[in-house]
Amino acid sequence: MNNIIKRYIPQILAILFVVLIFGFLTLNAQTNMDNRGIDFGFGFLSQESSFDVQFSLIEYSGSDSYARAFLVGLLNTLLVSFISIIICTILGVIIGVARLSSNYLIKNSAAWYVEFFRNIPLLLQIFFWYYAALRALPMPEKADAWFGVTYMTVKGYYIPAMVWENLNVFLYCGLAAIIAIIVLRNYANKLRDTQGKQIPVLLYSVGLLIVLPLLSFLFGGVSLEFEIPELKKLSKISYIYEGGISLPPELIALVLALSLYTSTFVAECVRAGIEGVSKGQKEAAASVGLTPNQVLKLVIMPQALRIIIPPTTNQYLNLTKNSSLAAAIAYPDLVLVFAGTALMQTGKAIEIVSITMLTYLTISLTIAAVMNWYNKKIEIKEK
């Protein structure tokens, strides 16, 4: 009896405490909102937003609802996070490996890169790219073509757009190639386990990825044309490129800052992972006759990844949350569009801030879930 009391009383008290605090806060908020004549409700989400957004992945205009404006902001946040995560991973792996290089120049350049970009506050880096680097670009009419068809200007980066015919056939072919590769890999693993034979899977995979989609061009009626941006006159002195895709400078500045900053942390995770595998493993693998390639692929990387993944997940989460700094440079992300303009136009502060918080929470938990799943997959399986 005594034990039960000892065990449960503190827990019950703790729960009671939390409930009381939450109850008090709710009551307090309600009283204050009532006194100030502020209504609470989510009905505004279906009302017409009547404002426009600079950059959107889906069709959107001022006659759409606030809910759609929310979606526009959310997709813009996801877009900038997705691109930045990919770039920072590639950069991070390269820099991380470079730091372990035996070449003095490569090793030290990588170390300087990490120390430089990781020790300057992210907001400053965003400001640098946006206000210093990108503002110094030429006006559209004075811009030189990069690669012949793209233009980097103060108003944005203009690139050709792809105009597809029978895009679905092309995508099916790509899908078929991926399925074929998975089947091939399983077969190759089986062959290796049962007969000890090796097939150059990578070579075949690349071949499949190129050949199958290529076939769709020849026989599937797929065609691809490029719409090249062309200079258009807006007034006597102002120009713009029309046709093609325009990437606003706000997006470019944000991607640059986020990916360069986060790549330094990823690089450190990669370095820690590789250094975390003991030398004995490498020597033992070499002594049983594995080639250096096999040593890296079959012995070092599987063990290093186990160390790399969990801290890298944190970096991905940080990057996604840091993308909300977009509001500082007019990139229309979730915070600017929804917790900014929509909040101001409706005045529904509590509703909108709570929706925004829940959204970031959901994005973060989803990324964490995916990374945890991957981590589970590669962790040591006790047999």
């Binding site: 709710t26 426009d52 706000e250 101001m344 005045g347 509590i350 918080m357």
Partner: protein, 346 residues
């Protein structure tokens, strides 16, 4: 069940009202805000982050402008000293939350009076101290002389969280022109972006354009287009629920305007006590018991006129003499062809 969800969600994000205890009561004659202001010894006033002519701080931190003068008038009326004001610079995005959460007691920040703001979000507009309208600024060299010459693809810089964003959509939508809105939180960022060529045009209230033009690297290379695309009555705002405080702010502003109408200004106010006109005598506290209605003494309006001046003096000092908008336009008295018209103080 819905109630529980409703309560839970309100818990999640109630920064604004989190620890602010219920301060407003429905007392008939007593104003909690006035009591607190007297106890504190200064009026808490929300202003812009720097808009010459309306609310702008100089190097030593002195605020000037016609929006600033409204708060000074309230301080003169309630505390007897027009300098007893604490100014809080706010972005367009922060302004209403600052007011509803009780961080400030008057919002005098070139804020447009609209139905949804007045009725929906716990605010009350007390009057209009500047009649404005939205316009566009372009580079002179562009050759654009009217808004009809904007073409598809025009990029437009403006401020976040303003009626400007909505008007601009109405304007371009109704003309079927596609445009690129580039929206910044701070006015200075908008000016910098337009100056750097990021945008082809800059849109906001015309008074704002005139004031911000002075901040451009070459002000003379830019021109404000003649068209006005919206009505923007700008005025001070208070929190809903304290009707006495609301009246104090409203009549402090009205006093300034009526003083100009009757020719009472900061230098002749004392002499006007012996005027033959009862309306003027009421205005300088020599007749009637007008202040008692708010719980103030009888010299409240005299102090406003003596310490801050009438509306005309404030306009001249802040907007005309600084070269922002020398012509008063609609902001002239109704007796002189403008639309400034306030109810009688009696």
């Amino acid at each position: 069940m819905f109630k529980i969800i409703k309560q839970l969600t309100s818990v999640v994000a109630m920064f604004a009202v989190l620890f602010a205890f219920s301060t407003e009561t429905m007392a008939a004659k007593k104003s909690k805000t006035l009591e607190n202001t007297k106890k504190r010894g200064f009026v808490r006033c929300g202003v812009s982050q720097g808009l010459p002519g309306f609310s702008n701080a100089d190097e030593s931190g002195n605020w000037t402008g016609i929006d600033v003068d409204v708060c000074r008038a309230v301080a003169a009326a309630t505390l007897g000293d027009a300098t007893k004001v604490k100014f809080t610079p706010l972005s367009a995005k922060e302004r209403f939350t600052a007011l509803t959460s009780g961080e400030i007691d008057i919002l005098s920040r070139n804020t447009t009076w609209t139905l949804s703001r007045d009725a929906d979000i716990g605010l009350t507009f007390v009057g209009v101290n500047f009649y404005d309208g939205q316009g566009f600024m372009v580079r002179k060299g562009s050759g654009i002389s009217s808004t009809g010459e904007f073409k598809n693809g025009t990029s437009v810089c403006t401020n976040l969280g303003t009626t400007t964003e909505l008007n601009m959509r109405d304007f371009f939508d109704s003309r079927g022109i596609s445009y690129e809105p580039v929206v910044f939180e701070k006015a200075d960022e908008v000016v910098a972006a337009y100056d750097a060529g990021r945008c082809d045009t800059y849109t906001t209230d015309k008074s704002g354009l005139a004031a911000q033009r002075t901040k451009l690297s070459a002000p003379d290379d830019h021109v404000v287009l003649p068209e006005t695309i919206s009505k923007e009555p700008l005025g001070p705002v208070v929190r809903q629920g304290d009707s006495v405080w609301e009246d104090i702010v409203r009549w402090s502003l009205n006093t300034m305007i009526e003083a100009e109408e009757y020719g009472v200004n900061s230098s002749n106010a004392d002499m006007m006590k012996t005027s033959n006109n009862p309306a003027i005598k009421r205005l300088v506290g020599a007749e009637g018991e007008l202040g008692a209605a708010f719980g103030l003494d009888n010299d409240w309006n005299l102090r406003i006129i003596k310490q801050v001046g009438n509306y005309g003096e404030s306009y001249k000092r802040n907007i005309a003499d600084t070269g922002i908008l020398p012509d008063r336009g609609p902001n002239e008295l109704w007796t002189k062809g403008g639309i400034l018209y306030v109810p009688p103080a009696r």
